[in-house]
């Protein structure tokens, strides 16, 4: 019994539970919008595109979060601009832009002698988070959460039916950019704590899981947050016991819940449908 | 072979999608070559499902579609079934030339590597000349006008040697001149013995160029010559409340030519029916006998 409670005795583990849960909650809220908007690749793209910003900020000696944010936003804006000014499709443009930016970041990384570990940027270091990083991640996460909760109906309409939103006089473009800014902020806040890989999954899987379980948007956000935070805690816990990568364990826990929803969801679950047929 | 008679027969076609939705139930009709037939129905009426079944894209859970008595898949292998996609389903910036697209109609005749032979090039040239696009063969398809874009795909169907040609909503977003050019082209193909099926929800243009109609609403409500099928009763059954019906008997039309007409429209080209429910044609050439017969009835 003691062995199962052991993780809770360490300060760094409690910190990991807190940060993991927070990042998971913010990611889950945004994932609901991204899944409905068809922007799953956007989270993937921005989270890779922050690398050159982090490197340049490091070289210039300014806070890494600022560089990361600028670079993530540049990726989103450049994608939109190239798409509307050339014949290339959106998904292709996104692939070109983010992989190009990541490559530049890698070249900068290998040219810059630094104390940074690429592993930590890519896969996070949730068990070794410093207090300053905690505060940074925490405050960004709260700001994003607050804005999204306040604007959720507007953002939902913009994601769901942009032309209708435009027709009723909503500021579609600013709201779309707002979503991108929130997305970039979330990614900046989470990348340094949990790494690129986990961020990508945290921005897709919870929203999709919730979509299988409910058809109401407010409920969907609640379900996404609950499953995401739950799997973050489970992942941190399991990774302590198995000594495996924390980020990987969290992602796999999220996937596990998705598979459960896929099989057993009340309305659209695979087994339910089979039983009915 | 080319001129052998052609019959297309759908028998009790029932299509159920994997999600359990039965889009079409017991749809039956039969058509012969040398026909332009309209497939008419509202969105969600199963019209596009019937279209897909005719092309062999969906397999009916019950019933069958046969071309000259043989299953549609065999006809596909012969290249008999040609298809002209809706304009909005085509990626117009795809890097292919007019010639490339028409050559795609010949794939069925080519070997494993799809290398064109002289006969394929001749067929493509003939098809392009027939639709008047040979001069533009090296254009990228996005650089064509709306009417030319349509004709490229008709040329593909011709090059393919398609005996049944299916056109999916060919007149959406097309101007009147283009529509008339296309109709003229379809008439030529009909005279050559092809069976042309046009899916449309534009009622008004149907009597102008289609000699047969299949009315669809979850099943085939009626099929046969346009004059017999296009009655107000049938149309109301097919379209339900979607159509707005004006009775102009006591309006200016009546004063103008002394006859009453009924206009049925779904906001595109209107369908005009005479007092006894006959179709009023815009283009009367070739229909003189029909019209004079009616005038006798009217007296």
């Amino acid at each position: 019994m003691d062995a199962f409670l052991e993780p809770f005795r360490y300060g760094f583990m409690l910190q990991a539970f807190a940060v993991g849960g927070l990042v998971a909650a913010v990611g889950a809220v945004l994932s609901c919008f991204l899944v409905l908007r068809g922007w799953s690749l956007m989270g993937d793209a921005i989270s890779h595109a922050v690398l050159p910003g982090i490197m340049l900020a490091y070289i210039a000696g300014i806070p890494l979060a600022i560089g990361a944010f600028a670079s993530g936003l540049l990726c989103a804006v450049a994608t939109g601009w190239i798409k509307s000014n050339s014949r290339i499709k959106e998904d292709t443009v996104m692939g070109v832009v983010f992989s190009g930016m990541f490559a530049v970041g890698l070249v900068l990384f290998s040219r810059t002698p630094s104390e940074m570990h690429l592993d930590h940027i890519l896969f996070g270091n949730i068990l070794g988070i410093t207090p300053e990083r905690m505060i940074e991640t925490g405050s960004i996460a709260f700001v994003v959460l607050a804005v999204v909760i306040v604007l959720r109906r507007d953002l939902l309409l913009v994601c769901f039916d942009p032309s209708h939103a435009k027709a009723i006089g909503m500021a579609v473009k600013p709201l779309t950019y707002m979503l991108l800014v929130l997305l970039s902020l979330t990614i900046v806040a989470s990348v340094q704590a949990v790494g690129v890989v986990l961020v990508v999954a945290a921005l897709i899987t919870p929203g999709a899981t919730a979509l299988l379980l409910t058809k109401r948007f407010d409920k969907m956000i609640a379900v996404a947050v609950a499953t995401s935070v739950g799997s973050a805690w489970a992942g941190v816990y399991v990774s302590f016991l198995t000594n495996g990568s924390t980020a990987a364990c969290i992602v796999l826990a999220q996937t596990f819940i998705f598979v459960l929803a896929f099989l057993f969801a009340p309305a659209s679950g695979l087994l339910r449908r089979r039983a009915r047929a | 072979m080319e001129n052998s008679p052609l019959t297309l027969e759908a028998k009790d076609v029932t299509v159920t999608y994997p999600n359990g939705n039965t889009a079409l139930r017991d749809a039956s009709f039969s058509l012969e070559g040398g026909t332009i037939c309209a497939l008419v129905g509202v969105n969600g009426s199963g019209k596009s499902t019937l279209f897909k079944a005719l092309m062999g894209f969906v397999t009916p859970v019950r019933g069958s579609v046969a071309l000259n008595g043989r299953p549609i898949r065999e006809a596909q292998k012969q290249g008999w079934v040609a298809y002209v996609p809706q304009a909005e389903d085509v990626d117009w910036s795809f890097p292919v030339s007019v010639h490339d697209v028409v050559m795609m109609g010949r794939y069925g005749y080519m070997n494993f590597l799809r290398i064109a032979r002289a006969s394929d090039r001749t067929a493509v040239r003939n098809a392009l000349e027939r639709v008047g696009l040979w001069e533009l063969r090296d254009r990228q398809i996005g650089e064509l006008s709306g009417g030319q874009k349509k004709r490229v795909f008709v040329a593909r169907a011709i090059a393919q040697g398609g005996r049944v040609i299916l056109l999916d909503e060919p007149f959406t977003g097309v101007d009147a001149t283009t529509e008339e050019d296309l109709i003229a082209l379809l008439h030529e193909l009909r005279l050559a013995g092809s069976l042309i099926l046009v899916s449309t929800h534009n009622l008004g243009s149907v009597p102008e160029f289609c000699d047969h109609v299949v009315l669809v609403n979850r099943t085939v409500l009626a099929f046969g010559p346009t004059d017999e099928v296009f009655t107000p009763e049938n149309l109301v059954r097919a379209f339900g409340g979607v159509l707005r019906q004006f009775d102009l008997a006591s309006s200016t039309v009546h004063d103008h030519d002394g006859k009453s007409v009924t206009v049925l429209t779904d906001d595109e080209r209107p369908l005009v029916l005479g007092k006894r429910g006959h179709i009023e044609y815009r283009d009367r050439t070739g229909r003189e006998k029909l019209i004079s017969d009616r005038e006798k009835e009217d007296v």
Partner: protein
């Protein structure tokens, strides 16, 4: 500095030629990927092969076999979940590939001493083993031959799959064939540039070629030459830039893409601006 130094080392010569071959295959295939709108698929498969590669290394199997199996499993899982749920395709792809990638990371973190994370994530063409070179060459040549034989069918599949069906061509097979090619090239590119940058190899050459020509066959050739030349030059440059081969190759590709985006004779920004007046 002597510019010819890289050519004096056998490992550099091997790396440059192998990269060029892999770059060429990816470049040719990228024509299909960009026009079919499968950029996310390329990204996803390159991440999804990671657990297969890891397991193959652990049990001493040829890595390409492991990667291939794992890529196909992922593609199968995506297809299955997509058919059975209302979740959009892009989200489904995102869920599946992050799950596979996380599984790979977990395995790597559990067997740290036996698999090098950096090799898989960032590629290591400069230190590639002779046996792996043989695998790469075989995989690449097979893909090139298959594309050379079936490119017209695949073009029709990308352009108008309904027409292919109307002709009685087995569209399902073409779909699977393209997925097989994509998995195989993702495996090859993994060695050259690493899992994260494979997407660039599978998208950027095609996007660049698309800006330069209106003919599909020409586009494939431009893509292939572009991929081969940039990969060769990138590998060469990485001799001077401390081993970040993938970063160098993809940075080079991105620079050339931007060049094409601006200066392409017909579809470049300058040309379209001028045409618009």
């Amino acid at each position: 500095m002597n510019w010819l130094v890289p050519f004096h080392y056998e490992y550099m010569v091997t790396a440059m030629w192998t990269s060029a071959l892999v770059g060429c295959v990816c470049g040719v295939l990228s024509g299909f990927v960009t026009l079919k709108g499968w950029s996310l698929m390329g990204d996803a498969l390159s991440h999804a092969v990671v657990p297969g590669v890891t397991i193959a290394y652990l049990v001493g199997f040829p890595f390409s076999v492991g990667a291939f199996v794992s890529g196909l499993l992922a593609a199968g899982a995506m297809a299955f979940v997509k058919i059975k749920t209302p979740v959009r395709e892009d989200a489904v792809i995102g869920i599946v590939f992050t799950a596979f990638f996380a599984l790979g990371l977990l395995l790597i973190s559990l067997f740290k001493s036996r698999v090098d994370l950096k090799t898989i994530i960032l590629g290591n063409i400069l230190g590639i083993a002779a046996g792996d070179v043989v695998q790469l060459v075989i995989v690449s040549l097979v893909c090139l031959v298959v594309i050379a034989l079936k490119w017209r069918d695949l073009m029709l599949f990308c352009f108008d799959s309904s027409q292919a069906r109307a002709l009685g061509i087995r569209v399902g097979w073409l779909h699977v064939l393209l997925l097989l090619l994509l998995s195989a090239t993702a495996v090859a590119a993994l060695q050259a540039v690493g899992a994260i940058l494979v997407v660039a190899m599978l998208v950027t050459p095609g996007a660049t070629a698309y800006l330069l020509t209106d003919r599909f066959g020409v586009m494939l050739i431009i893509g292939g030459v572009f991929g081969a030349v940039t990969a060769f030059a990138g590998a060469y440059a990485s001799y001077f830039i401390d081993g970040a081969t993938g970063g160098c190759i993809v940075t080079l590709q991105s620079i050339l893409f931007v060049g094409a985006l601006i200066f392409a004779p017909k579809h470049g920004l300058i040309a379209t601006r001028r045409a618009r007046g």
